[in-house]
């Protein structure tokens, strides 16, 4: 079910009430597990089986890895876990993509192959929970941790509803221990959690869906070339939409978990104030970038195998990171561009060394704007439906397209401009701070007024029926 739905309001109220009831801790954990399966099954009940399969396989595989005496057996059981998880992911998410590429490849050598239509529904959030549960067996295999002792705790870890379908991708060491002891939110945790839920839903429903999506959809949905104003508005609006949509989900997830007494890690830290791309990836989708670092980049050798291998490892990591987002070559290009940016930044650092003017505020501001500009170029590939559409959008942005049309109305341009300007300014002002630190310093009346404003806007916007963008990944 969607966070931005009436059903979720009722669901969360019931879960919180049961979690606060005087019940044994084991019963409360069972409630959480059932609630999580219900939350996921509300999209498509049979897909709960996928969660159960991942849970059962990884639970046993981790134990077998831990007990194995030989490296071969350890590797065998790791392969069992990876094959199960990546097999499910590959079948549901990449099956059609692989088939289409096979057909194109066959056609390029003169073989006309017409496969039957691929009518497989993508289970929502499959990439998130697959990566989360794989981290468990990988940690045991890499001897970073021992298997957990409780199947119930591990089952909740795999399916914990607040972050199940769009992250943050939580590590076993972060969440499983929290299920060991009875947890219940203190009153400040509960109300601060509620405030975070309000902020997250405000980001999603009001800012992303109401004020930014119309401009982004209008520009990217246009057929043919569009005016530079329209193109830039659309791309900048999408940069805001994707941030508020995804950050909104993470913030709501963190808030829901906190209302139950559990702590989830931050997934964003004002990413559009990033100075450079390594900084960006410390601020954007942090739980994925660190997952890729710990389970892909470092196992590939990271920066320990020489200069050339470092750049190759970087590119492999970002290309696969792109493909993680979606079964399309445009996502691979998106990842590839980020890989190139990171490589270029690394190279520039190597060549330039440390300079005193790096600390100059104007230099930082210029670099932050350059970073934001280049990130917007990557969003074009992320959002466009095809390469042709992406190239047309890029040509439109730089006034290189022939016969451009105006497609956006002032009703789309003005709200997008206001919200995106506010977003970038806020990120810059808060780049070295945190939401909690700001709330701690702010006067009470201001917090109350902002909270009431966000709640009121949520009420009059009447929610929205649209799913979070990252659900499809």
């Amino acid at each position: 079910m969607l966070f931005n739905s009436l059903t979720f309001v009722v669901f969360l109220s019931v879960v919180v009430a049961l979690h606060s009831a005087p019940l044994p801790w084991r019963v409360k954990k069972l409630n959480l597990l059932i609630a999580s399966y219900l939350f996921y099954g509300a999209w498509n009940p049979p897909f709960v089986l996928l969660l159960m399969i991942s849970t059962a396989v990884d639970w046993k595989a981790a134990q077998w890895i831990y007990r194995s005496n030989t490296e071969a057996r350890r590797t065998l059981f790791l392969m069992l876990s990876l094959a199960t998880n990546l097999g499910i992911l590959g079948f549901f998410k990449y099956g059609d993509f692989a088939l289409q590429n096979f057909v194109s490849l066959a056609a390029s050598v003169g073989v006309a192959y017409q496969p039957p239509e691929w009518n497989i529904i993508l289970p929502v959030g499959i990439s998130f929970y697959t990566f989360q549960t794989m981290a468990y067996t990988l940690d045991v295999y890499l001897k970073r941790s021992a298997p957990t002792k409780s199947l119930l705790d591990f089952s909740i870890f795999v399916s914990f509803f607040p972050q199940l379908v769009a992250g943050p991708i939580v590590r076993p060491s972060q969440l499983v221990p929290q299920f060991a002891e009875p947890k219940r939110a203190t009153p400040p945790q509960f109300y601060w959690g509620l405030a975070l839920v309000t902020i997250g839903l405000f980001e999603k429903v009001v800012l992303a869906d109401s004020f930014l999506a119309p401009a982004a959809d209008g520009a990217f949905g246009a057929a043919g070339a569009i005016m530079p104003l329209d193109a830039w508005t659309g791309v900048l609006a999408f940069s805001g939409q994707i941030f508020f949509d995804f950050s909104g989900y993470s913030t709501t997830a963190i808030g829901c978990a906190l209302m139950l007494g559990f702590a989830l890690p931050n997934n964003f830290r004002f990413p559009y104030a990033a100075i450079g791309f390594s900084d960006f990836w410390r601020r954007w989708h942090i739980s994925l970038s660190t997952w890729l670092r710990d389970y892909l980049y470092i196992p590939l050798g990271g920066n320990k195998k020489g200069r050339v291998r470092t750049y190759i490892n970087l590119m492999i990591t970002m290309l696969l990171g792109g493909l993680w987002h979606g079964a399309s070559w445009t996502f691979v290009v998106w990842g590839g561009l980020h890989g190139l940016y990171l490589a270029a930044e690394r190279l520039a650092r190597e060549l330039m060394g440390d300079r005193s003017w790096y600390a100059n505020v104007l230099f930082k501001l210029a670099m932050a704007l350059l970073t934001y500009f280049l990130i917007n170029i990557t969003w074009v590939f992320f959002r466009a439906q095809s390469f042709d559409a992406a190239m047309t959008m890029l040509a439109s942005m730089f006034a290189l397209a022939a016969e451009p049309k105006a497609v956006l109305r002032w009703s789309e341009i003005v709200p997008a401009a206001v919200v995106v300007s506010g977003m970038v300014a806020t990120h810059w002002m808060m780049r070295s701070s945190s939401l909690e630190a700001v709330a701690d310093k702010a006067p009470r009346w201001l917090i109350g007024a902002v909270w009431a404003f966000m709640l009121f806007m949520l009420v009059i916007t009447q929610g929205s029926d649209s799913a979070f963008i990252y659900f499809q990944f």
């Binding site: 972060q174 929290q178 060991a180 906190l258 410390r282 970038s289 002032w410 909690e436 909270w451």
Partner: protein, 379 residues
């Protein structure tokens, strides 16, 4: 254990920007009286919401007006099984037929599946492919929408109905409570909608935006009538007419100044539509069901578009002949003419009642005649 969920003091010093730490989760809570703040925010929100509700009630919005959502349509679609009588079409049959009066006159309460701006052909095909349906389909024909090639504005409702998740069904059920209580719970009051209909200047090279205002109110089973404000508020009525003028200028240009007709609709396209219709009608009849057609009144800006652009002899008559169906058009019956049509396309509520009382007996009489004619043909 490596998680921390409360540490107000940790906030006093700026939190260093550390990379993600897989061993720790710091979730500090700012030091504020959160319960008090929460209660204050809730009270302020309730007060603001009450003001918003009063404002919109002043604009004519009422509680108990159900959203014409995909979920409501899907709910009604699930009733269209067995020998049900089903109405499909675009907005005219939706506004102009009062289901209560139809039921009173005929003893049958039709399932209302018409959707604004959407060709009923997609719904006819859907019913034809549904083996569980063997009832009567009454098709409202608004020629420019009926013959459209892409299904129209809300053809995606079929995909929604097929893929509707359990959560979406629960949401729909829960939304009843809000719809019964709150007048402002309506698409038109959303800030995003208000931004769209705000009179912004038009950008160079763009045509005026077609964005119909709220025109109707509906019950829980989609019995729909024109919203009172369209009838009573001349300014709002003018705005509604202006929207239709914008639409007709864009999608169906009226005849040119010298009176010559607009570019003709290709005959091959009409033939293809008729062939598709016949196949679907035959499929429903093969299961014991039937299909009939209604054409409902219009005037003002729609008259030149429909009369010149979609002349009866090229569209309506061949449609009835090709499908061997009952076709009742307002042009043929004096008692179906002369009704008040405030915004050129839909009857006002009182006129819809009067119209339904007039058309129901005509319709069923024609159905009886057709039945006799078919029986005679068999003999």
């Amino acid at each position: 254990m490596p998680s921390s969920t409360s540490s107000s003091d940790a906030l006093r010093a700026p939190t260093p920007l550390s990379y993600f730490d897989p061993e720790h989760v710091d979730r500090p809570v700012p030091g504020k009286p959160w319960r008090t703040l929460c209660v204050a925010a809730l009270i302020a929100t309730i007060a603001l919401t009450a003001g918003w509700e009063i404002f919109w009630r002043g604009k004519g919005m009422i509680a108990g007006d159900y959203k014409n959502s995909n979920a409501l349509w899907a709910q009604e679609r699930r009733k269209a099984v067995g020998d049900a009588t089903v109405m499909i079409g675009s907005s005219r049959i939706f506004f102009d037929i009062d289901l209560d009066i139809w039921e009173e006159m005929s003893g049958v309460r039709p399932v209302q599946l018409a959707l604004e701006g959407t060709s009923p052909r997609v719904f006819l095909k859907n019913l034809a492919e549904d083996d569980s349906f063997r009832g009567l389909v009454i098709v409202g024909v608004t020629a420019p929408v009926f013959f459209t090639q892409d299904g129209g504005l809300r053809a995606d409702v079929l995909g929604y109905t097929r893929d509707q998740t359990p959560a979406q069904r629960w949401d729909h059920f829960l939304s009843y409570g809000l719809e019964e209580t709150l007048a402002f719970y309506d698409e038109q009051t959303r800030p995003a909608t208000q931004l769209i209909i705000w009179p912004w200047p038009l950008r160079e090279g763009m045509t005026p935006l077609f964005y119909p205002r709220k025109l109707s109110i509906s019950t829980r089973d989609r019995n729909t009538e024109m919203w009172a404000r369209v009838v009573d508020d001349p300014v709002y009525q003018k705005e509604a007419q202006q929207q239709w003028a914008t639409l007709t200028a864009q999608v169906a240009p009226p005849p040119s100044a010298d009176g010559s007709p607009p570019p003709p609709f290709p005959q091959e396209a009409i033939d293809a539509v008729l062939a598709e219709l016949k196949a679907n009608v035959d499929a429903i009849r093969a299961r014991g069901g039937d299909v009939a057609f209604l054409r409902l009144p219009y005037d003002g800006g729609f008259q030149p578009v429909e009369d010149f652009g979609f002349p009866r002899e090229r569209f309506w008559d061949p449609l009835i002949a090709a499908t061997d169906s009952v076709g009742v058009t307002w042009h043929d019956y004096p008692e179906l003419q002369g009704y008040a049509i405030p915004e050129w396309s839909h009857l006002d509520p009182r006129e819809a009642e009067r119209y339904t009382r007039a058309v129901t007996p005509i319709f069923y009489a024609r159905m009886e005649e057709k039945k006799a004619e078919r029986a005679a043909r068999k003999d």
